[in-house]
């Protein structure tokens, strides 16, 4: 029983590896989307799930990464492996610039400030036509070469995304089990006590916000090359809400939950296709139900069931 | 008048009260003594309905009020003046007093006599009528908290540390007013760390330790009982 998590992990990875062979092209496309979205969700897990920053603008940072990649590849002719690091850097730098003044703010101030940033980003993306292509967005973003091997079609991109998700998940897990992860969770649990336990609260908050944005940038860069077309509405405030809901659904302080949440919420419109136009309304109700029924998300729910089960066994 | 039987309260794993029983008869003033963390405040909060008891029962005038909401307990004449006064800082003194008439005031019912009664007890409040709650000094805030409670026309008054943070002279003045209120026939249960003051108004007292009643008796007996001193100053 002790090795159960490891067994599960191997099973999940194995099925993720063989999935492209068995699922339809359409589902493969969704799975790829779910994978690179989950990178942004893991980023939000660091900022919101652990550190407690109510971050309602993750989509804007995905957008910065996507536009940076798209503009540099289409205009300057650079390849993905050059633009991707630049995209990360761009999102991270923008985050750093706004983090220091914004993180003096708490709770709803931060939420509204980041929301305002998201809306401003949309306005700029729509109207700075020369740079961003305005409403029409940027088309014909080139595919990715991997050591001269063209990663084309969904199958190749699926494995590329999976590779990055595994790297990011490992990064997230390592971070969680280091002093940085501890400090972040300490800040969310009790900021005052974290300070008196020698945690440098401001520095860790800035770090969490910047890391979240760097991961969003990676997610955006992958998105741009996968979709080969980006437009401002891909990064609007509503998208930030979706990313947040993915995290809450999966379990707000768990890397695995972030991935699970983004997979479920990416496939949900398909699963609920019979609802037709009602899907979005149901989506709103779904948010409320998750908040009311299982505020700790799927992972949190499973953990509490396991704890109860273990308790029942030790008592019985 | 007020009867508490076998009351037990826990906050998660911590037991705050463990089988506390006490009774206050009509018109009586009873003091509740004990050190920090003994469970005095929890007891008052349970009586006024803010905290749900795990076991035991509270009854008022012989009728159990256990399921009743705090708002409805006020309507039955049970009013709790909470620790640290908790006046409404953004309401004026007059508004603080008027707002407490919500339980009984219907259209047109006059509050003038009730206001007069409070202003007679606390003339300072009359002067301060238009001032905001936050601008009052600690002593004035305490007077306002007591005055506000009187506006709800209580038959039983629960008071939590009315002398907290007050200079000795002010605390004595507050206590002088409390004995006047007691003389008007209002039943009182008084939590206080200032033993001498509490016992100067109260006729009887209970000593609480770790959620248990460890001692009960007349004020005159308690004041000389070494156990009371121990509870505060240690052996």
């Amino acid at each position: 029983m002790r090795n159960l998590p490891i067994v599960l992990l191997v099973l999940v990875l194995a099925s993720a590896l063989v999935a492209p062979a068995v699922i339809s092209d359409f589902n493969l496309r969704l799975a790829t989307l779910a994978l690179h979205t989950s990178i942004a969700v893991i980023g939000l897990c660091i900022a919101f799930g652990w550190t407690g920053l109510l971050h309602l603008g993750q989509a804007a940072f995905v957008g910065i990464g996507a536009y940076a990649s798209a503009i540099l590849t289409t205009r300057a002719g650079l390849g993905f492996w050059t633009t991707m690091p630049i995209a990360l850097l761009a999102s991270g730098l923008v985050a750093l610039c706004i983090a220091v003044p914004m993180l003096r703010l708490r709770g709803h101030y931060l939420a509204l400030a980041v929301l305002g940033f998201n809306v401003t980003f949309e306005i700029v993306a729509r109207n700075w036509t020369k740079l961003t292509g305005g409403f029409d967005g940027i088309t014909d973003i080139p595919p990715v070469f991997f050591f001269g091997w063209l990663i084309e079609g969904d199958k190749g991109f699926y494995y590329l995304s999976l590779f990055f998700v595994v790297i990011v998940a490992l990064f997230g897990t390592a971070l969680r089990h280091s002093r940085y992860g501890r400090a972040m969770i300490a800040i969310r649990d009790d900021e005052l006590a974290a300070g008196t336990s020698s945690v440098d609260v401001t520095r860790i908050k800035v770090l969490a916000f910047v890391l979240a944005s760097v991961l969003a940038g990676l997610s955006g860069s992958l998105y741009a090359h996968h979709a080969t077309f980006i437009a401002p509405q891909d990064f609007e405030f509503g998208r930030s809400v979706t990313i947040l809901v993915m995290l809450i659904l999966g379990g707000e302080s768990s890397v695995a939950g972030a991935i699970i949440g983004s997979v479920i919420l990416t496939f949900l419109p398909e699963l609920l296709r019979f609802l037709g136009d009602y899907y979005q309304a149901v989506f709103g109700v779904l948010i409320l139900l998750i908040l009311i029924v299982m505020p700790n998300g799927l992972v949190g729910q499973v953990q509490s069931w396991r704890a109860r089960w273990a308790k029942g066994r030790s008592n019985g | 008048m007020l009867q508490v039987e076998g009351l037990s309260v826990s906050y998660g794993p911590v037991t705050a009260l463990d089988g506390v029983s006490l009774a206050v008869s009509k018109g009586e003033c009873v003091a509740l003594l004990g050190s920090n963390g003994a469970g005095k405040t929890t007891l008052l909060r349970t009586i006024s309905g803010l905290v749900k008891a795990r076991l035991g029962s509270v009854s008022l005038d012989g009728k159990a009020i256990d399921g009743m909401s705090p708002e409805n307990r006020v309507r039955k004449g049970l009013c709790h003046v909470p620790e640290r006064r908790r006046i409404f800082p953004g309401l004026t003194v007059l508004e603080n007093l008027e707002v407490a008439t919500a339980p009984w005031r219907r259209f047109g019912a006059s509050i003038a006599t009730d206001l007069d009664r409070v202003f007679e007890l606390f003339p300072r409040l009359r002067e301060r009528r238009p001032q905001y709650g936050w601008s009052l000094s600690g002593g004035e805030q305490q007077m306002l908290a007591i005055g506000r409670a009187l506006m709800s026309r209580p038959s039983v008054l629960l008071l939590d540390e009315p002398s907290l943070g007050l200079a000795p002279l002010l605390a004595e003045e507050v206590y002088a007013r409390l004995s006047e209120i007691s003389a008007m026939g209002v039943t009182m249960l008084l939590v206080e760390q200032n033993t001498a003051m509490a016992l100067s108004v109260a006729s009887r007292g209970y000593v609480l330790e770790h959620g248990h009643v460890v001692l009960a008796g007349a004020s005159t007996d308690l004041i000389t009982n070494p156990r009371v001193r121990e509870a505060y100053l240690g052996a």
Partner: protein, 292 residues
């Protein structure tokens, strides 16, 4: 002042009035529950669209139609209280805030299903007439917006500061537990709160609808501007919300004319960021660090 500037100023005031009413609704919810209502924009749209249907239903009898809107919005407020606020009340404020986002999505899509995606034009009870003052032409609806807003603000003032109910409402907002101990029925006041919030947003919807075309997303932008208005005016201050709304209206109208109509909204948010940097408490507000 040239006629043109005066003309712009009047339009700015009208737009500002609408933002001020929405900001007032957000501010009331925030002061009494600590919750920032992210569904404000969708509630504005709901007011406009319910108004549209109600006016058609009553065959352009505006008074009963508007009463229908107020009843409808009150019902939304009560449903919100029972289905969202009360079940989530014990959790952190952040959770409730995310809950309001869910409510917004729900309302928006129910409206999409009911009214469809196409923009609609809405008539004003004042008709489409205008008055000319020299070179300045002011539509009757704009004057109506300013008048109704003034009445609303006076009405809210009387309700909150001159009535027994308002006293209880403010007491509950400041200290719900102490209010309970004074025999105030706190749940009823929470109901009043959410009814006020929804009705105010709904009235803002009725006011803005005849000025622009209405579709299911038109309130979103108004909600966002109302947030900016509160940040500028200062969280925790009713006069701040009203002043902030008018400032936002002015920046938008003058900015569109003198700077760029594409970036007029960006100007609003730029000012908001400037305030966050230099004076995070806004013009009148609480200190930003005080409330978590």
């Amino acid at each position: 002042m040239s006629a043109q500037v005066l003309q712009l100023a009047i339009n700015a005031l009208a737009a500002g009035c609408i933002y001020a009413v929405v900001a007032l609704s957000v501010e009331i919810a925030y002061e009494s529950t600590g919750v920032v209502n992210f569904a404000a924009g969708q509630l504005v749209t709901a007011g406009a669209l319910i108004g549209l249907s109600a006016v058609a239903y009553t065959k352009f009898n505006f008074l009963p139609a508007y009463l229908l809107v107020i009843v409808g919005m009150s019902m939304i407020g009560i449903v919100f209280l029972i289905c969202v606020y009360l079940p989530l009340r014990r959790q952190s404020v952040l959770t409730i805030v995310i809950g309001t986002v869910g409510v917004g999505i729900f309302i928006q899509n129910v409206m999409l299903l009911t009214w469809g995606p196409l923009p609609k034009s809405v008539r004003s009870p004042m008709g489409s007439g205008a008055i000319k003052f020299g070179d300045v032409s002011v539509s009757l609806h704009v004057l109506y917006v300013i008048g109704v807003t003034a009445l609303l603000i006076i009405g809210m003032y009387l309700l909150l500061y001159r009535s027994s109910l308002g006293r209880q409402f403010r007491a509950t907002a400041q200290d719900p537990e102490a209010a309970t101990l004074m025999g105030i029925r706190v749940k009823q006041l929470y109901a009043l709160n959410w009814i006020l919030v929804c009705v105010l947003s709904g009235i803002a919807g009725l006011l803005f609808a005849p000025m622009w075309l209405v579709d299911v997303t038109s309130g979103d932008n108004i909600g966002l501007k109302a947030f900016a208005a509160i940040m500028i005016g200062g969280f925790g201050s009713v006069p701040g919300a009203i002043l902030g709304g008018i400032i936002v209206g002015a920046i938008e109208i003058f900015g569109a004319f003198y700077v760029s109509s594409a970036f007029k909204d960006a100007l609003v948010f730029a000012l908001m960021f400037l305030f966050l940097l230099v004076r995070p408490q806004g013009i009148f507000g609480e200190r930003a660090a005080d409330r978590a």
